[in-house]
Structures are given as structure tokens and as C-alpha cells.
């Protein structure tokens, strides 16, 4: 049996009765097992997945229909799943099974999707290589000696390796887009507030945003339509109607003005990637778009601003992991202070500890104005840069990451180089804007991602432009060759 690889393909196959959800789910479970050396999943929920698939099949037999009925998907292990292990890639939550579902999980389940399991990630979403997971690094399906990117590396690799039809991810400074680029898939970080953060384990609350990771823009549109929407439990979610993303996919690109962010094409960008990006821009031109160079003068300060704001918020968000009420607790604490210190030192990995310390420092008395307040001012300036840009163009394009997937361990000892992985993605995060990465070719056999950044709440235009591109090209259909054990 040949199964459709995309969500859209599976929706029509399942509706046409070509195969059942149970068969499809079984296929994925077998493939996950066969490719478990990729380490994409922290938890595979085989039993409940098969049960959900069977329920979907009976529902269909009874004449029910739901948008994703019977489609097998995976959730990043940062989304709380009721009574299922939710670790956030940390030892701290090695035994944590929340009594509630994240809003995103709940919505996708209600839409009929079948959860295959929870994907691997950098601990508490802090990292760009997935090497910061307590559960081991994920391997890039295109080259298993290389990283898949991070922090949603498990989701990206799983989609690329065909270990689920689609996956959820979260993006704080690039954690959906960069792994999507490195694994050759489509990943969308929606506008901040477009998708509820309820039940999504917090890293940096003012930046965190959930989004779909898929093989195509069409699939991303299908997923986002379900994930998006206001939620009274998340005060920062946006109360604005959710458009029909699928129907707007056919909007032509011709007549649109696309900005090339010159600040993103500067030195540091890998030459082969630069060529692929330039090729992609020519495709948009051939589709009738006008190209216009754009400057974002403050965007070069985005990495330092981000590495003040995100750790500051993280330092508070991660205070709740104290060994008192849930999660990891050190053995035989001698005192309250000992309980705190050892539980946190033993339960939390080095990169996360580093960021907690940086965050606590930048918020401390005497340093707040020099760091946190200044970073917030920079954030506003960056936001204004984007606003002026969107007076002139409909969306911006540029590279997603400075180079294709790097080798495991290659940047482990160079934090700054690792942080610079996010140099192109952080701007849109700080400005709260929607941004999408899609594959636009290979460089030395590794995928190159193009980033599209749009106006506030203009996800439909990004998805449409990506879909138009994917209708004329085949890069999104390129698959890594994998040896099945």
C-alpha cells in the first residue's frame, strides 16, 4: 500500500476509503520504530494512537466528518497532553504527565487528528540544534551526522523523514523556521497571539508562539486553520476572526511587491545558500511579483536584544521547577535551600541554566535599565523598521538560516556562533510578525530554507505566496534517502 505523504493527500485518501486511519497509523508507528535512531520522538503513544485511529474510522463509517479525521500527527513535547508524558526535553519533567491538554492539542484532537507521540526538542525550547535535549540529540534525516536544527528539531525531522503527516512546533526566536529550513520542510510561526499558548510550556512568554510544521504550504494552511483563534485562558491571544487559509492559497503573487531585506543578505550567509535564495526570488519574479530592496536598520541589534529579553522571561518562567510539587526532586534534601539548589542543578541542563543566570542578572537591581529596558527599546525600534517596510512591500523574503545543517557537536563549544543561527529569524519574533520557512533547493545535498515575513495577522498572504511557489517548483517534494533498518 502506498500512502499519501501530505495531510491534504491523506484527507482525500481517507475520505475515498483508499485505506483506513488505523492502517495509516500503523504504517507510521512501524516507520517510527524502524527509524528510531533518528531519535525524533521522546514518547510514542502507540496504543492510544491506534485507539484514536479506530475511533476515527468508526466515526467515518457512521457518516461523521471532521477536517483532519484520522490524520496522524505529532506534537512537540512542549505541549501538555493529558495523562501523557510531557517533558519539554528536560530531566526536570522526566515524570510529568499533566492533567490537562494544551489548547492546540485539544483543537487538533477535536478536528479528528490522531496523535502518534511527542517529538524531541531542545530542553525548554532553548537551542538551535536539538543537542540540548536530555533525551539525546535528534539526527537530521538528510545526513544523520548533522543536526536537524532546533528547538523543534524532533518535529522537523519527523515530518522530513515521513514519521508523521504533520507536526506542531513552537517558535520563540526561530525554533519552527530554522529546523524547518535545515530539514527541508515548511514551517510557519504565526503572528504572536494568533494561536493560544494555553498548555504550552513557557520559555519566553512575550515571544513564544505555536505553529504548524508540514511538507507543504497547503498542509500548513489546513493545520493553522484549526490551531488559530482567541482563547479566554490566554489573555495575549488575539480576538480576530480566523480566515479560511486554504481558500486564499490561490491568490496570485502577480502585482505584489516583495521586499528583499539587504541586511539579511550580508556577510556570514553561506554562498551556496545565497544562490538558492536568489533563484527562489527569481521564481517569485517570474510569477509577476515586483522585487524591492529594503533596509531594516535596527535588525542587526535583534540577536543581543533577544538574548536579554528571552532569558529574562525564562528566568521567571522556569522558577516553578523547584522540586516541590512535580517533576524531578533531588535525593534526600537536607534543607529547603538544598532541595531547590540540587533539584534545579540536577534537573536542568547547562544551556538552560546559563540562560536562567543571564536572565536573573539582566533583571537585577542596577542592571535592569542597562539591559532589560534597553532591549525593550530596541525591540520597539525593530518593530518600527518592519512597519515602515510594510508601507512599501507586501512581504519580505530572505534566508532562514546562515547555512544548511551543521554537524553534531560542531558548534557545541561556541555559544555565540550557535546564537547567531537565529540571526535572520529573531527580528520577526521580536516584532511579533508571522514568518514562514520553506525549502528552495539543496546545497551540497542539504536543504536550504527561504524565509517569508508578513504583516501582522497576514498569515494568509504568506501561505498563499508559499503555495504559489510550491505550485511552480518541486523542492518541497524532495525527500531524504533513508536506510530503513
Amino acid at each position: 500500500m502506498t500512502y499519501a505523504e501530505t495531510v491534504a493527500g491523506q484527507i482525500s485518501d481517507l475520505a475515498a476509503g483508499k485505506y483506513s486511519s488505523e492502517e495509516l497509523t500503523r504504517h507510521y508507528l512501524q516507520r517510527i520504530e524502524a527509524l528510531k535512531t533518528l531519535n525524533c520522538y521522546i514518547t510514542v503513544t502507540s496504543e492510544s494512537a491506534l485507539a484514536a485511529a479506530r475511533r476515527a474510522d468508526s466515526a467515518r463509517a457512521a457518516g461523521h466528518s471532521l477536517p483532519l479525521l484520522g490524520v496522524p500527527i505529532a506534537h512537540k513535547d512542549i505541549f501538555c497532553t493529558r495523562n501523557e508524558l510531557t517533558t519539554a526535553g528536560s530531566r526536570m519533567l522526566y515524570n510529568f504527565a499533566p492533567p490537562y491538554d494544551a489548547m492546540v492539542v485539544d483543537k487538533l484532537e477535536k478536528a479528528g487528528a490522531v496523535m502518534l507521540g511527542k517529538t524531541n526538542m531542545d530542553e525548554f525550547a532553548m537551542g538551535s540544534s536539538n543537542e540540548n535535549s536530555f533525551y539525546g540529540p535528534v539526527r537530521n534525516p538528510w545526513d544523520v551526522t548533522r543536526v536537524p536544527g532546533g528547538s523543534s528539531g524532533g518535529s522537523a525531522a519527523a515530518v522530513a523523514a515521513g514519521l508523521c503527516a504533520a507536526a506542531t512546533g513552537t517558535d520563540t526566536g526561530g525554533s519552527i523556521r530554522q529546523p524547518a529550513a535545515l530539514c527541508g520542510i515548511t514551517g510557519l510561526k504565526p503572528t504572536y497571539g494568533r494561536v493560544s499558548r494555553w498548555g504550552m510550556i513557557a520559555f519566553a512568554s512575550s515571544l513564544d508562539q505555536a505553529g504548524p510544521m508540514t511538507q507543504t504550504a497547503m498542509d500548513a494552511a489546513l493545520m493553522l486553520g484549526i490551531m488559530a483563534g482567541v482563547d479566554p485562558r490566554d489573555s495575549t491571544s488575539i480576538d480576530s476572526p480566523v480566515p479560511d487559509y486554504v481558500s486564499s492559497l490561490e491568490t496570485p503573487v502577480s502585482g505584489m511587491t516583495i521586499g528583499i531585506c539587504e541586511d539579511f543578505m550580508a556577510e556570514g550567509l553561506d554562498t551556496a545558500s545565497e544562490v538558492r535564495i536568489a533563484d527562489a526570488i527569481r521564481v517569485f519574479e517570474s510569477l509577476g511579483a515586483t522585487i524591492k530592496p529594503i533596509r531594516l536598520p535596527h535588525v542587526r541589534y535583534s540577536v543581543p536584544a533577544y538574548y536579554v529579553i528571552a532569558p529574562a522571561e525564562a528566568s521567571a518562567n522556569l522558577s516553578r521547577y523547584d522540586g516541590v510539587r512535580f517533576g524531578y526532586r533531588c535525593k534526600d534534601p537536607a534543607s529547603l535551600e538544598d532541595l531547590y539548589k540540587r533539584s534545579r542543578s540536577e534537573g536542568i541542563g547547562p544551556e538552560v541554566q546559563r540562560r536562567i543566570m543571564v536572565g536573573a542578572f539582566t533583571l537585577s537591581a542596577g542592571f535592569y535599565d542597562a539591559y532589560y529596558r534597553k532591549a525593550q527599546q530596541v525591540r520597539r525600534l525593530i518593530s518600527n523598521d518592519f512597519k515602515s517596510a510594510f508601507d512599501q512591500v507586501d512581504f519580505l523574503v530572505g534566508p532562514t538560516s546562515p547555512q544548511p545543517a551543521f554537524r553534531l557537536g560542531e558548534k557545541s563549544d561556541d555559544q555565540v556562533s550557535m546564537y547567531l543561527q537565529d540571526i535572520y529569524t529573531i527580528g520577526a519574533s521580536l516584532a511579533g510578525l508571522p514568518a514562514l520557512s520553506m525549502p528552495v533547493g539543496l546545497a551540497a545535498g542539504l536543504p536550504v530554507g527561504l524565509q517569508l515575513i508578513g504583516r501582522h495577522l497576514d498569515e494568509a498572504r504568506l501561505l498563499g505566496a508559499a503555495h504559489q511557489f510550491q505550485s511552480r517548483t518541486h523542492w518541497h517534494e524532495a525527500r531524504p534517502e533513508l536506510e530503513i533498518s
Partner: protein
């Protein structure tokens, strides 16, 4: 040498808002439940949960602000205050640091000498309460009860305008009265619904600089507040007069030993690393909202006392006493309307009712006698059906749970006052005849003895004789 030092006190009062659910979650705020039975995932600080503000806290904070003549911030915002403590599940408290909802304002507090003083209020802000650490009964460990975690608080911060423990108590009592009036808080101090932190410092009389202050935390009764401050004043005075310096520190009042002592935990040079709470949007309050709250506000104690004084022609002190408690004030007004005699109503409510409340240790809401009953009773004094003496006996019967109406009770027990001369004259004659010596003295000019004869007649009549009538008869018989 007390006179050499001026005492400077500022109070921070934490009032729990009497909303049904918590400030950032839907869990109940009811007092006294089983430990940890009223704490949901949000209160427990579980991973992935988010706070959402209970909208019921806004009208309460605004009403308090209007009640003290403060300005209401059109935009206020929540911040995180970071510190580790087991009863603070998230490791930070959500509070309002930079932009409080209520700014400025003042209250006029009555002083013992009958004058009053204005105390300025710096601010009042919304925040969440912490849980409770239970240090007993856990054999070397501490228990944590998170039922209280997330209970909405309004923290009311005064300027350092108070100059003595008794002023501080008068101020705290005023705030207590106000929050109850405005239905902002139930003010049950024994349950911790209102708690005071006292900032106390001393300075040389005439000095304009403030001395080093200490903060005495979590005092939960007026009596303890007065004792804690007095204790702290004499402690500081002792140190200063022996040439020492006061250490800025947080202290805890121990009512059992009547002393304050430094708190051991978490208070050494804390840096709370405040920053804006990213999970919540700024709070926007427009003029229409403020006006709606203003229009639904009850009459405030100060306004009520002034109205009582003018409307009922009663003494200022009486008006103030009756206005301290909105239920008592309503009670008084009902009684006055029913019996048509405000002066008599003041006397009976202030003296007779309050004495009985104190004697039995009960509160106004639990009064066993309704205003309708008391009004009916006073009406019968006023129309001379019964005497005051008999009325007090009837009040006692009603207090004990007598269910008959006042009029029926008077009838059943034949308590109607005897006013007709034909019944009283023989009684007076009998008393005069029985006391010839006193009658002689009266006739000789010792008219003070009138009271003696009237008293004897009243006693003989079982209190039923009309004292005025008896007065006249005695006077004419002996005249």
C-alpha cells in the same frame, strides 16, 4: 524621654477582595476548606498554564479608589516579583509595581480627642496572595496549603503620616470600615482577610529627615497592631538612646511573647527582579466604567455620619458610632423610622443593643432582635403604653428568642403601664402611709425625697406605673 523623639509610621494593609474565585484562576476563595482542595493547576504553578484576570476585581479596586478620593489609572499593569518560597508556587508573585490601579487619595481619621486628621494614601494595587506554610505537625518537614494562593489582594499603602500606635489603629479601623462598606472585602481579620505591615521609625523632634525604619509584618488584629507598634517604638527608642543604630529589617510580631523579632527567612537583601508580566495585557479602565462604579457605590461612613447628624439632629459622636458599620446604621434608620423618635432610637441602639452584643460576644449580622421588633417596642414607650423599665425586660425576652410580637407580649404579660389616677392614688397613699418619717421630712422641705416615693411606687407596681403620673400624684398628696 519620649518627647525628644517623633514617631513616624506608615501602614501597608493587605485586604483580600471578597470575590468568589481567585484573581487569576477559577478556583474558589472560600475560607477554611481542606488544605489544597481549592487550588487548581494555575494556583499550583503547573507547566504551561496561564493566568487570566478575574474581571470582578476591577470594580472593587475602583470603588476603593473612589472611596478615598484617589485617581484611578486608565492604564495599569501587572508585574512579576521574583523570589523562591514553597508557598509561592510559580516562584514569582503577580503584582502591580510600576503602574498601580489606584494612585493617591486620603482618609480623615477620627482621633481620641474628638478631632480628626488627614492621612494620605500613596497607592493601592492588585496582586495575588501566597499560600500558607504550615510548620506544625509534620515532623521535621513543613506542609504547604495552597488554598490561599491566588486569592485577590488589594495592597493599600499609606504615606508615613501616622504619629502613634493609636493613630495607626484608628487609620486601620477606618480602612477596615471602608472596605466593608464598599463590599470590597469581608475584612475578617481573624481569617487573614485584612493584614497589616507596619513601617516604624523614630526621628528627633524637629528633624525633617526620616529615621531608619523597620517593617513589622502580617499583624492581623487591631490590638496586636497597637502592641506591635508600641513595642517597636520602645525597642527603637532604647537603641537610639543608648547610641545605637537601627537596622533596616523585616520583623515579625509574636503576640504570645508581645515582642517583635527579626524574620529569619528570605529577607536578607532581597532583589525581587521586577519586570512586566508578559502573560497579561495592561489593564484599561475608561471613564464610563469608573462612573458606573461611582453610581453603584453606597454612602460612605463619613457621608452617612454627616447625614445622620443633620437629618436626625443627633450628636456627632453618636452619628459616627452608628456609621461605623453599615448594618448597624441601617438598623438604626429602620428603628428610627418605625418608632418616629430618632433620639430614643440612638439611645437604644447605641446603649442597649451594643451592650448586649458586647456581653454575648456577637456581631451585628447575628443580632437576635430585628429592627421591626425594636421599633415596635420603642413605639410603645413613646405612646406611654409601657415604661422604659418594662421595655428593657421585653428586650431581654426578645433577645432570648421570644417569638410573640411586642404588643402581644405586653398583653399576655399584662405589662401595660398604669396611668389612671384611680388605680395609682390608693397605691401612692399606701406607700406614704408606710413611710411616715420620710413623708415628714419631705413636708419639712426635703423635696429630694420625691424620687424615693416614686421609686417605691414603681417597685410596688412591678414597673407598670406611669412614672410621670406617679410623680404628680405623690407631689399633690404630700404638698
Amino acid at each position: 524621654m519620649m518627647s525628644d523623639w517623633e514617631v513616624v509610621i506608615g501602614l501597608e494593609i493587605h485586604a483580600q477582595l471578597n470575590t468568589r474565585s481567585k484573581i487569576f484562576s477559577g478556583a474558589s476563595t472560600r475560607f477554611g476548606a481542606e488544605p489544597n482542595s481549592q487550588a487548581c493547576a494555575i494556583d499550583l504553578g503547573f507547566p504551561g498554564v496561564l493566568p487570566a484576570v478575574n474581571q470582578a476585581v476591577y470594580p472593587k479596586a475602583v470603588a476603593f479608589g473612589l472611596g478615598i478620593g484617589a485617581s484611578i489609572s486608565h492604564v495599569s499593569a501587572f508585574d512579576r516579583k521574583n523570589y523562591f518560597y514553597p508557598d509561592l508556587p510559580k516562584g514569582y508573585q503577580i503584582t502591580q509595581m510600576d503602574r498601580p490601579i489606584v494612585v493617591g487619595g486620603s482618609v480623615e481619621i477620627p482621633l481620641e480627642d474628638g478631632t480628626s486628621r488627614e492621612i494620605r494614601i500613596t497607592r493601592a494595587h492588585l496582586e495575588e496572595d501566597a499560600g500558607k506554610s504550615l510548620h506544625e505537625d509534620f515532623h521535621g518537614s513543613s506542609g504547604i496549603d495552597l488554598n490561599r494562593a491566588g486569592t485577590p489582594l488589594l495592597e493599600i499603602v499609606s504615606e508615613p503620616d501616622l504619629r502613634s500606635a493609636s493613630e495607626a489603629v484608628a487609620y486601620a479601623r477606618y480602612i477596615h470600615q471602608l472596605i466593608r462598606y464598599l463590599d470590597v472585602s469581608d475584612g475578617e481579620m481573624a481569617e487573614g482577610s485584612m493584614r497589616c505591615d507596619a513601617n516604624v521609625s523614630l526621628r528627633r523632634v524637629g528633624s525633617s529627615e526620616l529615621g531608619t525604619r523597620t517593617e513589622t509584618k502580617n499583624v492581623n488584629s487591631f490590638r496586636f497592631l497597637e502592641r506591635a507598634i508600641d513595642h517597636e517604638i520602645s525597642r527603637q527608642r532604647g537603641i537610639l538612646e543608648s547610641g545605637g543604630v537601627i537596622r533596616q529589617e523585616t520583623r515579625l510580631y509574636d503576640p504570645d511573647r508581645d515582642e517583635t523579632r527579626p524574620m529569619r527567612s528570605k529577607e536578607t537583601a532581597m532583589d525581587y527582579r521586577y519586570f512586566p508580566e508578559p502573560d497579561l495585557l495592561p489593564v484599561e479602565i475608561d471613564d464610563a466604567f469608573i462612573e458606573a462604579v461611582r453610581n453603584s457605590m453606597p454612602e460612605l461612613p463619613r457621608e452617612k455620619a454627616a447625614r445622620f447628624e443633620a437629618q436626625y439632629s443627633i450628636a456627632a459622636a453618636d452619628a459616627r458610632t452608628l456609621s461605623t458599620d453599615p448594618l448597624l446604621a441601617d438598623y438604626f434608620e429602620s428603628v428610627a423610622a418605625l418608632c418616629g423618635d430618632p433620639a430614643m432610637s440612638v439611645n437604644w441602639v447605641r446603649v442597649e443593643l451594643l451592650a448586649r452584643l458586647r456581653r454575648d460576644g456577637i456581631e451585628v449580622p447575628a443580632l437576635p432582635v430585628s429592627p421591626e421588633q425594636l421599633g415596635a417596642l420603642l413605639k410603645r414607650i413613646k405612646d406611654q403604653t409601657i415604661s422604659g423599665k418594662v421595655a428593657k425586660d421585653i428586650l431581654d425576652a426578645l433577645w432570648r428568642g421570644e417569638t410573640a410580637s411586642v404588643d402581644d407580649y405586653i398583653k399576655i404579660h399584662s405589662l401595660t403601664q398604669v396611668s389612671d389616677a384611680s388605680s395609682l392614688e390608693p397605691l401612692v397613699d399606701r406607700i406614704i402611709a408606710g413611710n411616715p418619717k420620710q413623708a415628714e421630712q419631705y413636708r419639712a422641705g426635703k423635696t429630694k425625697l420625691l424620687g424615693f416615693f416614686v421609686g417605691q411606687v414603681m417597685k410596688e407596681s412591678g414597673g407598670k406605673a406611669n412614672p410621670q403620673q406617679v410623680n404628680e400624684i405623690v407631689r399633690s398628696r404630700l404638698g
